[in-house]
């Protein structure tokens, strides 16, 4: 029930009413002779969970990297709340409220939770001295807000479980002031229980009004959390469905290309 209500609200919003939080139009990107993205369009509305799916090499990671500043698009426009913006590097993206949770590349295992939440943005007290008390305080706050259960912000991240580590990475994205969070395969490396916790966390983020883009291979999880599913194939948009109006079978067809499925069925 609740699931349906929520997705229909998102569906309404997604279609007409709001200005998209982020909109990309006609994005092209090539590496040497490989055209990785061709005329790709992408929108995310405030408080929406979008799943970005596709086969390996479909361009979903490249698109994510373009939108968070790790790659620079050859052509195309990006708008934040209707305003055209230029994203040249991760700092630009961060300043616009776009944060990324990279798969397994986000944390420094040897450091504690607070240092990881503030990685690269350590607050100073003057003389270049890091304001550790503030880091500890704010880390606790953001973890509490997200109902993330971690024994201590002084705990070394390498000693935490996979789910806890993912949660720390997400807490960092939130603390950066992310209004739009990209998550690259957020459940890939986790056990079943941990996966459920991360999915719950994604829903909590949505409830807080944060938009989340989940880049994932796992259609089960995509259907668990997403409001809208964007499919890419061969560096192009292959289709876009509201979750409540589609089925996993249809999404699979879009991912691999409908013709091939039909051919396979005939054979």
């Amino acid at each position: 029930m609740a699931e349906q209500v929520r997705s229909s609200i998102a569906a309404d919003g997604a279609d007409r009413r709001d200005t998209p939080l982020l909109e990309a139009r006609g994005i092209c990107k090539s590496f040497l002779h490989v055209q990785a993205l061709q005329d790709v369009n992408f929108r995310v509305y405030p408080g929406e969970i979008v799943a970005l799916v596709g086969d390996n090499g479909a361009g979903k990671s490249t698109l994510m990297k373009v939108l968070c500043g790790a790659h620079h698009a050859d052509r195309g426009e990006i708008f934040i709340e209707g305003r055209p913006v230029t994203i040249r590097n991760p700092h630009d993206a961060q300043a616009l409220g776009i944060a990324v949770v990279y798969q397994d590349l986000a944390l420094v295992n040897q450091r504690d939770v607070a240092s990881n939440v503030f990685l690269g943005r350590e607050p100073k007290r003057g003389f270049g001295v890091v304001d550790k008390p503030r880091m500890v305080r704010e880390s606790r706050q953001v973890l509490q807000r997200l109902k993330i259960n971690i024994p201590s912000v002084y705990a070394q991240v390498g000693l935490l479980s996979g789910g806890q580590r993912q949660a720390v990475a997400i807490a960092r994205a939130i603390h950066q002031g992310g209004r739009l969070i990209f998550m690259d395969e957020p459940t890939a490396a986790l056990g079943v229980q941990e996966q459920a916790k991360v999915l719950k966390l994604i829903e909590d983020l949505k409830a807080e009004g944060t938009a989340v883009v989940v880049v994932s291979h796992n259609l089960q999880h995509v259907f668990d959390v997403a409001d809208r599913i964007v499919v890419m194939r061969g560096g192009r948009n292959a289709g876009e469905r509201i979750k409540s109006e589609t089925t996993p079978e249809e999404i699979v067809r879009l991912i691999v290309g409908a013709d091939r499925i039909r051919a396979a069925e005939v054979a």
Partner: protein, 337 residues
């Protein structure tokens, strides 16, 4: 020191299960463990060789050697925590020391000019190591191995007869003098250790050094310029090696052309015995000081116990392997669970 205090505020041991707790605590009290070993060695030598070890002359000599080793090893601590290594440090030490000696004695430069020049030269050599390593993406192991040979070659080609001469005045006093019975080297070392420990554990740069060595990709994703961090670490090591060269010349008034040969082994031994992780991301300045103390006592102890000088190499090599094995074992156990 500060590192210990910070961790203890909210026992990290609280993380969970019994074994994890124990191993975590073992690592957190790492400096304490190393300190216990150092003190045990001191007490052992004091008891077994009271008449030779516990003399003012011997203790001053040991302190002087530990001080110079610590100053350079502190620089190496930065480099190794950032995930790199510098094998050229011994050759650099030799070149900078003999270069300073040449300026002061042969060229008759005023130390007020020669000192900054040699410090800048050290920083520049560090920059070259860091620049080549990070720009071409070559392992620093290889780059600095090349520099080890290259810098030694420069020294041997440039200097045929090593200069020797007392500069005198303030230069000798600040680097080779004594306050009460305490040699100047010890004061320099204490200063370097305090400042470096503060920089590494309290400043933003220090945080970035740990992050760069711990997970370069994550650090870069978080907007840390890991190239700059690494180059800066190499420059710190170069600068501290130059400082040690100044102290050495002010104290001994000259060195041989082979000075510093094999010294990289002592330096790296001090750093890894002190608990700095061989692959970066963890370590401390205080640990390095304790590691240098153990190395210094080991050298002195073997001589006093009547072993031949050549056995020192065997002992040092064995201790390095032992320290790294123990360290790797503890860290691997921590990952499991």
């Amino acid at each position: 020191m500060a590192e210990l205090v910070l961790r203890d505020q909210e026992g990290v041991g609280a993380v969970g299960g019994s074994e994890r707790g124990v191993l975590q605590r073992l690592r957190d009290t790492r400096e304490l463990g190393i300190a216990v070993v150092a003190i045990a060695m001191f007490v052992f030598l004091a008891i077994v060789r009271t008449d030779t070890f516990l003399t003012t002359n011997n203790l001053i000599g040991v302190a002087q050697r530990i001080s110079l080793l610590t100053i350079i090893a502190v620089g190496m601590t930065f480099v190794m925590i950032s995930g790199e290594i510098d094998l050229s440090v011994g050759s650099m030490y030799g070149l900078l020391a003999i270069g300073l000696s040449e300026m002061l004695v042969t060229w008759g430069w005023n130390p007020i000019l020669a000192m900054p020049v040699i410090i800048l030269a050290g920083v520049a050599l560090g920059f070259i190591n860091g620049f080549i390593t990070t720009t071409f993406g070559i392992p620093s192991f290889i780059v600095t191995l090349g520099m080890l040979a290259l810098l030694r070659g420069v020294t041997l080609t440039w200097i045929r007869t090593p200069p020797f001469g007392r500069v005198g005045g303030w230069f000798d006093r600040i680097f080779g003098g004594y306050v009460w019975e305490i040699p100047a080297q010890v004061f320099w070392m204490v200063g370097v250790v305090i400042i470096a420990a503060w920089v590494l554990s309290q400043t933003r740069f220090g945080y970035h050094v740990y992050a760069t060595g711990g997970n370069p990709q994550a650090a870069a994703n978080a907007g840390i310029d890991i190239r700059r961090v690494k180059i800066a670490c190499f420059m710190i090591l170069g600068g501290l090696t130059a400082l040690a060269s100044c102290i050495l010349i002010g104290w001994l008034h000259g060195v041989s052309r082979n000075h510093g040969t094999g010294y990289e082994l002592d330096v790296i031994a001090a750093v890894v015995i002190g608990g700095t992780f061989l692959f970066g991301g963890a370590g401390s300045v205080v640990g390095t000081f304790l590691g240098a103390t153990i190395t210094g006592l080991l050298t002195n102890g073997l001589i006093l116990l009547g072993f031949e000088q050549d056995t020192e190499q065997i002992a040092k090599g064995a201790v390095i392997i032992l320290a790294v094995s123990l360290d790797t074992w503890i860290r691997r156990r921590q990952r499991i669970a």
